[in-house]
């Protein structure tokens, strides 16, 4: 241990990254096998990869949490972590951007072209005569059959209110943490992932309803594809965010965070706000308009 004031901090070597790389590889390898119907190798590899990844997350994050509590990390390291999280969230924004882009392009350009607008006239005339477009649509061949959309002012509205309030609860918890008020922080912090899970539960019910009563499925043409992929990836992120929030709640309960030092808490809170903002985009562009 060479403790040198003003020196840079460099962490020691770690076995976790290579475990993560191997776990990720086995996970993806298994997923590819499974998709190609190679069983039982596919599911087994996938499960093994997932197990390694879970083991890795506990190990790696545990080590970082212990190092952080030992006071090994300087303010400079803290800032590197913050930048890392910010740019990670930016990359997530761009990922959703691809699917939002697909939605806007289909609605704004390709469906009107298929319906004969603009320079799509000949396609419509020769291939899809009589197709009038509009939105929602499952295309000229009505793939997936007649379907109805999820009305926005029922469960989606409730879900919007749930996510918005969860953003409020996590912010109250954060303020309580900064005031050093643990008794006030914990209930608000625990309330946040509970609201998140409630959101996922209602979303799952909405999916069941769409499949059983509305005939709205993943196969329902371009509408079904964009609807389920956007809301599905968002739901996945809410699930992940909820798990992250449970971990943070556990760490807060164990007293890992101080008034000044609680980067993990803030990173998860940022992530949660990001998930919230994506939902507002979804609610507006997928459900309402």
């Amino acid at each position: 241990m060479s403790q040198q004031a003003g020196a840079y901090y460099v962490p020691h070597g770690s076995r976790w990254p290579i475990i993560a790389a191997v776990g990720l590889f086995i996970f993806m390898w298994g997923a590819a096998h499974w998709l190609d119907g190679i069983e039982p190798e596919g599911p087994l590899l996938l499960a093994a990869g997932a197990a390694i990844l879970i083991f890795m997350f506990f190990g790696w994050f545990g080590e970082v949490a212990r190092e952080s509590m030992k006071g090994l990390y300087s303010d400079q390291v803290d800032l590197s972590f913050r930048m890392g999280m910010m740019w990670f969230i930016f990359s997530e924004v761009m990922f959703f951007g691809a699917f939002f882009g697909a939605l806007f392009y289909s609605r704004g350009l390709q469906v009107p072209w298929l319906a004969g607008e603009g320079h799509g006239a000949l396609t419509n005339l020769y291939l899809f005569r009589g197709y009038t477009g509009g939105w929602p649509t499952n295309g000229p061949d009505a793939i997936g059959g007649v379907f109805q959309t999820v009305p926005p002012w029922g469960e989606p509205l409730i879900n919007t209110l749930i996510l918005l309030s969860s953003s409020v609860t996590v912010t109250i918890a954060h303020h309580a943490l900064r005031d050093g008020n643990r008794r006030r922080m914990l209930p608000w912090l625990v309330a946040t992932p509970i609201l998140g899970m409630l959101f996922v539960f209602l979303q799952a019910r909405e999916y069941m309803d769409a499949y059983t009563h509305l005939n709205l499925t993943l196969h329902s043409g371009i509408y079904g594809a964009t609807f389920f992929m956007l809301t599905g990836f968002h739901g996945l992120h809410v699930t992940l965010g909820s798990i992250m929030l449970w971990v943070i709640a556990y760490r807060a309960w164990r007293g890992h965070f101080s008034k000044e030092h609680h980067f993990a808490f803030e990173a998860v809170a940022w992530y949660w706000h990001f998930v919230d903002i994506v939902w507002l985009g979804l609610f507006l562009f997928v459900y309402i308009i």
């Binding site: 403790q3 040198q4 004031a5 003003g6 020196a7 840079y8 901090y9 460099v10 962490p11 020691h12 070597g13 770690s14 076995r15 990254p17 993560a20 790389a21 990720l24 590889f25 993806m28 390898w29 997923a31 590819a32 998709l35 190609d36 190679i38 006071g71 090994l72 300087s74 400079q76 390291v77 800032l79 590197s80 930048m83 890392g84 740019w87 930016f90 990359s91 761009m94 990922f95 691809a98 882009g101 697909a102 392009y105 289909s106 390709q110 298929l114 320079h119 649509t137 499952n138 295309g139 793939i143 993943l218 196969h219 043409g221 371009i222 079904g224 594809a225 992929m229 101080s258 030092h261």
Partner: protein
């Protein structure tokens, strides 16, 4: 907690970890990880190169001689994916890993363990990709762009290919986050943003591009995956989808990706030319602004890859004009390199030879790019060998020559020994002649109408294809000299390299001994006048 600002928690600074596993598998040292990136890139360069050799051998004369058409398509597809994601990008990340901390006075990368993860994902990603060669139905064969509906007809390989691309994307994003955090957070006091070396600047901008577009590629290939395996209709017109949707999303990634592969090369060249012209770079700030402009414009030109798909005329015009605009900042860069050399006391060691060849030959590739960017002209050239000639000029004599420039320039700093100047020059002259024999005739073939991605062709194209193949074989064999010279410098060379390897070299990396010690800058270095190449010198 923050009373003692920072420490190193258990490894002493000069300690090199003992044993293979600790040093390489558990690596956190930016130099070791940089070395691994560079070695991986070199291996991939030869795997992708071997595929190119088979392609050129098949095209040596008309008719089908060596391989079946489907296997030929697999080769062109994998050659593209491997060279882009396996050779050029990791090589630049390797240079960034080695050089950025040295050049800005940082102890290491900002997030050293994540650095390890972003490297070690890559070998597995390429294992996944190359394993598709042995699957029923063969590897992906729809071209590296993976356009639907063709690529959706792949056999079992599609899922493997897509997951391999996901892994490469995860690796690139983590690597880029690390580079941005390092540059913005770990600069030594006194290394202001506008005093940073241009290589660091180009990488900062490249990293931003990568974080912005790799997730978009992930989205595009995920849509392919769900279209094939989960019955979505993103790319099926009958369901209201559109194959062009894929092309739009792909090229929204693809065009910035092109600059991801060339901007770090611009940075290398901007380091090397001032050193050997013994003059500061001409127009430092315009170089920074030009790089940023190129990066910005790269987001609004993607559809120039799709002029013949039937876009509305207004869209074609917009993308054509936006494309033409890029030649302005690029012209600034080429002008500044030439102006840096103007009246310099130039010497022509191997890195400088490659740098000068880069400026000339990259410009050739840039001009053919302008030709392709013109809508009416593109109708003639589209999907012909002219396109192949264009992007090999910018990627081989551009990106790859940029990497070779950087390797020759910094190799003595890494190994502590000079490479063989004589063999370096032989490598250069054989490369620069053969690469033109290889790629220049492709312009003629393309203009005469030979399409790309075909194993057989009209006898009218026979002569130039034969010339091109001969150039290809010589260029391929010449690269063995490169490997030999690197091995010589690492293991056999006797002469020690001084700290300032090149007489005219300026910048922090030349203030540390050669070879650079395993841990540099345990405390921030003190910047004295004259130590930096930019900012405290008269322009």
């Amino acid at each position: 907690m923050s009373t003692h600002a920072a420490t190193h928690d258990d490894v002493h600074h000069d300690d090199v970890p003992k044993g293979f596993v600790h040093r390489w598998l558990f690596a956190t040292n930016h130099k070791d990880i940089g070395t691994m990136y560079l070695v991986l890139a070199l291996v991939m360069f030869f795997i992708g190169g071997a595929m190119a050799m088979v392609i050129r051998a098949e095209l040596f004369e008309p008719g089908l001689q060596l391989v079946q058409p489907y296997f030929f398509n697999e080769l062109t597809t994998l050659h593209g994916l491997i060279m882009i994601f396996g050779a050029i990008m990791p090589a630049f990340v390797g240079l960034a890993n080695w050089q950025i901390p040295l050049m800005i006075g940082a102890p290491d990368m900002a997030l050293p363990r994540m650095n390890n993860l972003s490297f070690w994902i890559l070998p597995f990603a390429f294992l996944l990709l190359l394993s598709t060669l042995f699957l029923p139905g063969g590897a992906a064969a729809g071209g590296w762009v993976m356009y639907p509906p063709l690529v959706l007809q792949s056999g079992e390989s599609l899922a493997f290919t897509i997951f391999a691309i996901h892994l490469m994307g995860i690796s690139s994003i983590m690597g880029s986050i690390n580079i941005i955090a390092t540059i913005l957070n770990l600069r030594a006091p006194g290394v202001d943003l506008l005093k940073m070396p241009l290589f660091v600047w180009t990488w900062l901008i490249t990293a931003f591009l990568l974080i912005a577009v790799m997730p978009v590629l992930a989205g595009a290939v995920t849509m392919l995956l769900t279209d094939k395996y989960f019955g979505t209709n993103f790319f099926n017109a009958a369901g209201g989808g559109d194959v062009l949707l894929y092309e739009h999303i792909f090229w929204f990634f693809g065009h910035p990706e092109v600059y991801v592969m060339i901007l770090p090369a611009f940075g290398v060249i901007s380091e090397v030319i001032p050193t050997f012209a013994r003059k500061p770079i001409f127009g430092y700030k315009p170089m920074v602004y030009a790089t940023a402009s190129i990066a910005f414009l790269s987001f609004i030109v993607w559809a120039h890859h799709m002029f013949t798909v039937g876009l509305p005329v207004g869209a074609q015009l917009f993308f054509m004009y936006a494309t033409m605009l890029i030649s302005v900042p690029t012209g600034v860069k080429v002008f500044n390199w030439v102006a840096t050399m103007w009246k310099g006391s130039m010497t022509f060691e191997t890195p400088m030879l490659f740098a000068v060849a880069f400026v000339i030959l990259f410009t050739v590739g840039g001009f053919s790019g302008l030709m392709l960017g013109l809508v009416p002209a593109d109708y003639q050239y589209h999907n012909s060998y002219f396109v192949v000639a264009h992007f090999h000029y910018v990627l081989v004599t551009g990106a790859a020559f940029g990497i070779m420039t950087g390797v020759y320039y910094w190799l003595p700093k890494w190994t502590g020994h000079m490479y063989s100047e004589r063999w370096g020059k032989i490598h250069f002259w054989l490369s620069v002649i053969s690469v033109n024999v290889l790629f220049f005739p492709m312009h003629f073939l393309g203009l005469a109408g030979m399409p790309r991605r075909i194993p057989d062709y009209n006898v009218a194209f026979a002569d130039w294809n034969m010339v091109s193949s001969i150039g290809g074989f010589v260029f391929g064999a010449t690269q063995l000299i490169f490997v030999g010279n690197i091995i010589y410098s690492v293991y056999f060379a006797k002469s020690r390299a001084p700290a300032r390897v090149w007489e005219g070299a300026r910048g922090l990396e030349w203030e540390v001994p050669s070879p650079a010690p395993h841990h540099t800058y345990s405390t921030p270095p003190e910047i004295r006048p004259g130590m930096l190449a930019h900012g405290d010198v008269a322009h």
